[in-house]
Symmetry: C2
């Protein structure tokens, strides 16, 4: 018989030393030059200017020198099943675009081999751009949705993965009945809805034009019954808004059409929206958000444009809250982090926040040296054919 051994829970604490930048509040960055993040059991213990703050209970200190250490990115809206179409077919508005390019592409995911090829590249690219948590649409296909969840689990990256539900206004290959949708959702919930798991299901009624009232009602009931989150779309396009006004005449506005079925939320985040969007880098999506807010400011001078700390806070701490305590280095937050090696961008005399700004505006995935999700260093995921 084995003897019980007293374990000091603090023996597993690691310290990561670097120039630490994150946000608590949206109005400013927290900056600790040559500071330490203590991490234990996947969570931040604290951030401090000195290793002494963590006492004698440190197992290891990993020194990243002059590099930056920031929270990892969260992509709150992306379509894994449109990965192939990234950067093409930008010439149509939403409804026409769906029928011409998007539904035909998504129909290919009935083929599990095609799904493996595309989804492994999709997960790889998220990793490449430092996106450690993702809320993603798969397609209507149950098997390939499962495969995508397995690929995330294998990679060690966090994801809410949605099997898409739709029962109207699409091509036959993608339509399902409400009963079929209900059963498939329940199967995924039964298999995957462990609250501690990094990879979990998310209910995904595509959008009002694709979902009958019966479909929306089932999704709302499942969300309530199983406490599963929900993702969808709204108000992307004037033609779509007009269509929803026809389809849901009792609703006062588009958002209300979801709210009536218990399908409306609060958290604000940023998403790449591949393949309606073309750029998988959430750093660049921050820049686009700031740029669009500046155009809005030109029109409405009393509306401020987004500052960099606000955009960063939205992309990290605000979006991260959808996954738990994620997106900051405050005590108790899961340690999702990126080590940024910006050596080749440091030709001037820059402050630490200017270095972060330059990484976001000028840098790319080459500057991401190390990625962590829930305290684990995440190696490059496999690309499969």
């Amino acid at each position: 018989m084995q003897q019980a051994i007293h374990q000091n829970p603090h023996l597993s604490m690691k310290l990561y030393k670097a120039n630490i930048i994150f946000t608590r509040e949206k109005d400013r960055f927290e900056v600790v030059e040559n500071g330490y993040v203590g991490v234990e059991n996947g969570r931040v213990v604290d951030v401090a200017a000195s290793a002494d703050a963590f006492g004698q209970q440190v197992e290891e200190v990993i020194d990243y020198g002059d590099r930056l250490l920031i929270p990892a990115m969260n992509d709150m809206h992306v379509h894994a099943g449109q990965y192939r179409n990234q950067g093409i077919s930008m010439d149509m508005e939403l409804l026409e675009w769906l029928n011409s390019y998007t539904f035909p592409e998504e129909a290919k995911f009935s083929d599990i081999h095609y799904a493996r090829r595309m989804y492994s590249r999709f997960v790889h690219d998220l990793w490449r751009y430092g996106t450690m948590r993702t809320a993603t649409f798969a397609t209507t296909h149950l098997e390939s949705t499962r495969l995508l969840m397995e690929l995330f689990r294998e990679a060690g990256m966090g994801a809410l993965v949605g099997k898409v539900n739709m029962d109207r206004n699409s091509i036959d290959a993608l339509l399902e009945t409400v009963d079929e949708a209900k059963a498939a959702n329940e199967a995924l919930i039964a298999e995957w809805n462990d609250p501690d798991s990094l990879v979990r299901p998310i209910l995904t009624p595509r959008f009002i034009p694709s979902c009958s009232s019966a479909m929306l009602r089932v999704c709302g009931e499942q969300a309530q019954k199983y406490q599963v989150p929900v993702q969808s779309h709204l108000s992307e396009n004037l033609g779509e808004i007009a269509l929803v006004r026809e389809l849901e005449p009792e609703s006062r506005f588009y958002g209300d059409a979801y709210d009536r079925y218990g399908l409306f939320g609060q958290t604000v985040g940023l998403g790449s929206d591949i393949s309606g969007g073309h750029d998988m880098s959430i750093m660049r999506v921050m820049v686009y958000a700031i740029q669009v807010s500046k155009l809005y400011h030109q029109k409405y001078k009393d509306k401020r444009f987004l500052s960099l700390s606000e955009a960063f806070w939205i992309a990290t701490k605000s979006a991260g809250s959808f996954f738990g305590r994620v997106g900051s280095f405050e005590p108790g937050y899961e340690f999702d982090a990126l080590v940024i090696d910006d050596s080749d961008l440091k030709h001037g005399n820059y402050t630490l926040t200017q270095r972060l700004e330059r990484f976001i505006y000028v840098g790319d995935d080459r500057h991401i040296a190390v990625r962590f999700c829930r305290g684990q260093e995440i190696p490059e995921p496999r690309i499969l054919d």
Copy 2:
């Protein structure tokens, strides 16, 4: 005594084989799959589907396999003297931004060592992003402007380089008298204004707020006398437009204030505008131009948004016309070209124009395998400290 040798002028013709894409007209791409570009004395002889079209007079065939071959990029507006500030200080509008961030940075270029450090990186980055012709602002400093011109010449890349002229509304370190500006402009014109040279001077009255009537008049006279091109700024900001209305009350509108001094042109191109802009890639600037045109289309539904071929035509053939016959593969055009290796973007079944579209929207400098300017392959320029 040497004997005269009959030289066959066609012995120097090279053929470049690849998937060739360029624009003649803005409405469509010219695409030749596995085609040939014949190049002689730095200029395109023709594009053909078969090598036979070029007869027996070919010296060499260089085969780029399945890669794309496209015209190189032209950056029509960029500030070499603001290279250090790329991607920072995005929080102010124009006039305040100039005084707080930009003028103090430009003042550093009185130091030729600082200029060497920054300008060598600037030229290197243009190369990196496939920009083979550039219309650039230096600073008011004559010596560092000369250095920038030498760096372009050494690199083998085309540039119109402007010593900035300004005699009002800036910091003392950057102001000059009209006589000083006139003499410096004439020195650069005398040294560099060879019509065959890849690197030439361009007259650069910064903008109306920085230039008195006397300064504008001198620039207009020099442009006329020496047939030197001109670059400047206009209408970037509402505060600036209001200021110009005060400063030039006789002008009917901002453009007219230049036109009255013979300083207004016609060609349309795209520019990165570092460091007002943050992105040196003209591929991405095409994307931004398309995106902004889509916002404009949302407001004015009768105005079409830019198609990809239009944006490409503007960035290559239209902008290139400012440098001569540059920016297309039509006969007689200088061979400025990029070989694009998009192997890692080719996971789907894409057409050649979709491959180009993906390179522009999703790709980056890593996909540019070879660069040509005026028929010469351009090696990576040196970074100096």
